[in-house]
Point group: C2
Chain length 137, copies 2
């Protein structure tokens, strides 16, 4: 039962910098996104961002990694995810994804997390919520 092993405020995180190669793979093979803002430095230089930015949902992949591997861990089924993309994450910029338990249902093994991606200067890049079903077998 999740309310026996997890608690409100329990937290986990990971750090990662997404490379140009990873971003290109994501755009070409997964999302099919040919927005040059993600991989064309010359194009990006003319935008208000100045540099290539990693797609927001690609950065949000980190939440699933923590949820499925660490907290709650293997067998976790994600039911939902919300994301507000507040500040851009640039290629090769190390960010930290942090998930924190905000609610544990008593009637079923469902946990809600605050999910955030934080930049080195402390500003929030992405903020939202994940709802997961915890493996009970």
């Amino acid at each position: 039962m999740p309310n026996e092993t997890f608690y409100i405020g329990q937290s986990s995180g990971c750090k990662k910098a997404f490379t140009a190669e990873e971003t290109l793979y994501y755009c070409r093979h997964l999302s099919g996104d040919n927005n040059p803002l993600h991989y064309d430095a010359e194009y990006a230089a003319k935008t208000r961002f100045k540099k290539c930015i990693v797609p927001g949902i690609m950065v949000s992949s980190l939440f699933g990694g923590i949820l499925g591997s660490v907290l709650p861990g293997n067998g976790t089924i994600q039911l939902g995810q919300t994301c507000r993309f507040i500040n851009p994450v640039f290629i090769d910029e190390e960010v930290e994804a942090v998930i924190t338990i905000t609610n544990i249902r008593q009637d079923k093994p469902v946990i809600t997390f605050l999910t955030r991606v934080i930049k080195r200067d402390g500003t929030i890049a992405i903020e939202g919520e994940a709802v997961v079903l915890v493996a009970t077998n």
Copy 2:
């Protein structure tokens, strides 16, 4: 101005089947997810899903591809995304991602989309909303 070129109900979509190789790349290089449900067929066979499932946020990458490449197109900045993962998407299962305009702000170039991933039998795999800032330059 977005309200001159876009309209409520305007829609675009794409079809894709995510391969085992793409899923493994996503888990190993992007999300860091070592949940065996995504790539270990023997493990998956013992779960209620029976087969390996593509991570929900990985499937949701398709929305960004359409938004950034087709509608509204290049230069689009995504401000937010919500996803409810209603039914699993399996490896090699072709699904269709469809985005439909539900709101166009009059005061700024911000558009809201209903975002759905639909399975071949018509059931919804993922449903949510995307909010984007349209390129105005």
